[in-house]
């Protein structure tokens, strides 16, 4: 693990820098700390930061950039003719990586010498058997172009790693030396250190932007690949979801969107009335004791992990519904084929969303000024009339915002629908049938053996991007409404 040791080296240098810088500063001040511009430890931090920060930053950038660089160089080496009909450059590259990894392992375990690995020629040895021996299973015989590319890949990554070690070490030593030389009693160490710390703080804060950019870019990139392989009109306007790993799939988002929205609708049908009435009761009627007892208990529902709800849907609610509506059930009807259905997932998701709706609405109802209630009660309205005719209209925009936030949660929820909703994509109005959702399909297309060159896998990224845009839109709308409403009473 050379990267690990490199980091250890950097940390050791930083620690040495701290003590070295401190001692040198005190020495230049003739042992009297009062003669220093800054506190002694700032001189230490100065040397430590100069040695550590540029080097570790270079290390991170290098680790991120090297694979991309090597990838483009090596994939440029593979002639278009070497890519088989049914395959793509991406698949060939993954072969190249596996062969390179296999060669590395073989050298490590002493099955090949470094020279043999570099000069191996396809066909001379049984490379496939050799790879199998070190635990790298190959689908077919190693082709000469692939082997050549793999050797180039190995050479480049070895050279890259050596260069990285050298550059990072030099940077660390250079930073150490220059900072150490500058250490003097009149040097304004505190100002420099504080500026560096501020820069680090900005960097940490910018990580939020970086994450968003990462999310959008990673999905955008693969979505572009997907639309290169599959027509976008079928994705957005088709009517069938039928992935087929032998090709010729129909991948349309519409049936999945229908399932998603239907389940979310049922969930909201459960959560909104219960949550809203709970919030009204807690904020307008309940005594302090009831409130202190019921509110935290309801909020426990929000803290339970979704896997628990998923299991609850799969093993308790689903079978219970099947006992009611299924074959030989209590109602004597045969409306439900299995335990998974839109209703199963919707009900359970509704339970999960109750505290979400209730605590948001509770805050909003509490924000309605007391004077409005007093005015209404003073005119002789009963409490419920006040709530219905004065408090609710005033709180409505906020409550709509809360419901939208709950809807965005419902649309993006994964575990409950994976375990409770089923896997059949179709348009149906029957809530007792099993249907599938966007999140369920993302999970099923991206787990197990995946091939990142086929539209059946890549479609997951297009689905993810749609989901991201959908929930983002709902959130922005909800926040906008809530903020606008809040301004009214402030």
């Amino acid at each position: 693990m050379p990267t690990f040791w490199l980091v250890v080296l950097l940390i050791a240098l930083a620690a040495a820098g701290f003590y070295g810088g401190r001692r040198r500063a005190i020495a230049t001040a003739a042992g009297n700390v009062k003669n220093l511009h800054s506190l002694p430890s700032y001189y230490g931090y100065h040397v430590a930061l100069s040695a550590f920060v540029p080097a570790i930053a270079a290390l991170l950038v290098w680790l991120l950039a090297q694979p991309m660089f090597i990838e483009t160089r090596v994939s440029g080496m593979i002639p278009a003719a070497a890519v088989p009909e049914s395959s793509s450059i991406g698949l060939v590259m993954s072969d190249v990586r596996r062969v390179a990894e296999g060669l590395d392992l073989a050298v490590e375990q002493g099955l090949l010498s470094a020279r043999e690995a570099r000069n191996a020629v396809a066909g001379e040895q049984d490379l496939r058997a050799l790879m199998g021996e070190v635990g790298v299973a190959l689908g077919s015989e190693v082709r000469p172009e692939v082997l050549k590319a793999a050797q180039a890949y190995r050479n480049l990554s070895h050279a890259g790693r050596t260069a990285m070690t050298v550059v990072v070490t030099l940077l660390a030593l250079g930073g150490f030396a220059s900072a150490y030389v500058r250490t003097h009693k009149d040097f304004r160490a505190r100002n420099v250190v504080e500026r560096a710390v501020l820069a680090l703080l900005v960097l940490a804060a910018s990580l939020a932007i970086l994450t968003t950019v990462g999310i959008v870019l990673s999905m955008l990139f693969e979505t572009k690949n997907f639309f290169g392989l599959h027509s976008w009109t079928d994705f957005f306007f088709g009517s069938t979801w039928a992935p087929n790993f032998r090709g010729g799939s129909e991948l349309s988002i519409l049936p999945l969107l229908w399932g998603t929205l239907y389940i979310s609708f049922i969930a909201l049908l459960v959560a909104v009335p219960v949550g809203l009435f709970a919030a009204i009761y807690l904020s307008e009627y309940a005594s302090g004791a009831v409130r202190a007892f019921a509110k935290p208990l309801l909020e426990i529902l929000a803290g339970i992990p979704t896997i628990v709800y998923g299991l609850f849907a799969l093993l308790t609610v689903g079978p219970a519904l099947a006992d009611l509506f299924g074959k030989g059930g209590l109602l004597g009807v045969e409306w439900m084929a299995g335990a998974t259905s839109v209703l199963t997932a919707g009900l359970v998701m509704g339970i999960m969303l109750i505290p979400f709706v209730s605590s948001l609405s509770d805050d909003i109802i509490n924000a309605v000024p007391q004077a409005m209630r007093d005015g209404s009660l003073g005119l002789g309205a009963t409490k419920s009339e006040t709530v219905r005719q004065v408090v609710m209209p005033a709180a409505l925009p906020g409550i709509v915002g809360a419901v939208l936030l709950a809807a965005s949660r419902a649309i993006g929820e994964t575990m409950i629908v994976v375990m409770g909703a089923g896997a059949i994509a179709k348009f149906s109005a029957n809530p007792l049938e099993s249907m599938t959702t966007i999140t369920t399909r993302i999970v099923s297309q991206l787990t197990g053996d995946t091939d990142f060159a086929s539209p059946e896998t890549l479609v997951a990224f297009a689905l993810g991007l749609t989901l991201f845009v959908l929930t983002l839109g709902l959130n922005v709308l909800a926040l906008y409404i809530v903020r606008k409403y809040r301004e009214q009473y402030e």
């Binding site: 680790l63 990462g214 990673s218 219960v274 609850f312 993006g412 994964t414 989901l467």
Partner: protein, 452 residues
């Protein structure tokens, strides 16, 4: 007086008629509406609480069984003729005997036990051994390889009973439900009853479920959550090591230093949006960036930790900012007044005072991350058997492992209903962790909360 006689008994026709003491139909209607409205509220709260109650009782009712397991105590004679034919106790030779070679010994031990107890049964020896777990031969072999000197002796063992027998004792498997079951017969259940009556077969607390490794599809009785618990632990270590410093640094910047400009606005908008992005999207990010692009190993807790870090950051940032905000400006002013720089005022005075709040927020964020499942599915933390506990730190971070919620999902997907009990049991353990963490957070808040 005349007025009185003109309006006998004060019956002036008020608009809605009747006296003040007698409610008019309209008033009654309004009051009924009031009562109804209040009843709706009570019904809603009751409904919510009942659902919580149902959920908790289901979990406890179905999960506690996983903490008990049926064991059979047997005296096994470790026959030298079978286990070490050459008789020289050479480990290489002993290892050559596969688990198949141990089957006759187990059958023999069962037969001997039944004979000792004087139980009449028409079962063949293979069916006798069928009430034991398939894990037993491996357990015996491990013991013999570890203690070759015991060969030839008679040793007392506690063997796992098969999951059907275990289910029979727990009431999950009944005589009606096994009619078409190839794995167990009614005669075997008779034998189980007899053995239980004799005290050879008993249900005891099962420590292996809490600390053990997962087992393959055919051996639900041997599956445990211990290894995936370690996977979760390593992920939480990664989250703690990354999310806490980065989150605190970001909050300090935004709360104490950030000027009002577009960059700050952009960061704030991004943080509030990331807090609401569906968790599965973080899974896609992890798959695309950490695994496909950076080629980090799949199923590694390190990758899981990185993804969960990105997910937890907004939570930690939001709570840290709240606790920084609650430190009164007079503290900062006092520090600046005696000559501290702004940075010193924040790091030496504000941050220590905000620390309890930050800690509380971090614990709550960790609890959230611990229960998160969806992103872990995409980075490959399901679909294999987490059977080996990691031995070193690097192994713990980089070797494939599962995590508690992923393990629960894995069990829920398997066909044998015996695994469902494990899944519920796993949920009890997971919830115990969450309850502990949240209680800790509440205690910290109560203990250190300061009102300024």
């Amino acid at each position: 007086m005349t007025d009185l006689s003109q309006n006998p008994a004060g019956a002036a026709p008020r608009k809605h008629g009747g006296s003040l003491l007698e409610k008019s139909p309209h008033t009654r209607k309004r009051n009924a509406a009031e009562t109804r409205f209040k009843a709706y509220g009570i019904a809603a709260i009751t409904a919510g609480l009942i659902m919580l109650l149902v959920l908790v009782t289901t979990i406890v009712g179905k999960g506690t069984g996983a903490f008990q397991q049926t064991f059979v105590t047997l005296n096994v004679e470790l026959l030298e003729a079978k286990l070490d034919k050459k008789g020289n106790r050479d480990l290489a030779d002993i290892k050559k005997v596969t688990t198949f070679g141990y089957a006759p010994i187990i059958k023999g031990a069962m037969e001997a036990a039944i004979e000792d107890l004087g139980i009449e049964t028409s079962l063949k020896s293979k069916e006798l051994a069928g009430i034991l777990s398939k894990d037993v031969a491996a357990q015996l072999r491990d013991y013999v390889i570890a203690n070759p000197d015991q060969i030839g002796q008679t040793v007392e063992f506690r063997f796992l009973a098969s999951s059907r027998v275990d289910g029979y004792l727990k009431g999950r498997v009944t005589r009606d439900s096994i009619v078409n079951d190839k794995n167990i017969s009614a005669e075997q259940l008779d034998l189980v009853d007899a053995l239980a009556a004799a005290g050879v077969l008993e249900k005891t607390f099962n420590l292996d479920f809490i600390f053990g490794a997962d087992a393959s599809d055919a051996r639900p009785e041997a599956a445990g959550i211990g290894v995936s618990m370690l996977g979760s632990l390593f992920m939480m270590l990664v989250v703690l090591a990354l999310a806490l410093p980065i989150g605190v640094a970001a909050s300090i910047y935004l709360e104490e230093f950030a000027p009002q400009n577009w960059l700050t606005d952009m960061i704030e908008v991004n943080i509030s949006n990331l807090a609401a992005v569906p968790s599965i999207v973080f899974g896609i990010l992890g798959l695309a960036v950490f695994i496909n692009y950076m080629h980090l190993p799949t199923s590694a807790p390190l990758v899981g930790g990185l993804v969960l870090t990105l997910m937890t950051l907004p939570t930690i940032i939001i709570s840290t900012r709240a606790s920084l905000k609650s430190v009164p400006p007079s503290i900062r002013d006092a520090a600046l007044g005696v000559g501290a720089s702004k940075m010193q005022a924040v790091f030496h005075h504000v941050l220590p005072l905000a620390a309890p709040g930050i800690l509380t927020g971090t614990i709550i964020g960790l609890a959230q991350a611990l229960g998160e499942t969806a992103p872990l599915l995409l980075i490959g933390m399901v679909g294999f058997i987490a059977s080996n506990a990691p031995e070193t730190l690097a192994d713990g971070l980089l070797a494939p492992n599962s995590a508690m919620p992923a393990q629960i999902y894995e069990w829920a997907k398997r066909a044998d209903p015996a695994f469902y009990e494990r899944a519920w049991g796993g949920i009890i353990i997971l919830l115990l962790f969450l309850v502990t963490m949240n209680t800790l957070a509440v205690i910290l808040r109560r203990r250190f909360e300061r009102r300024w």
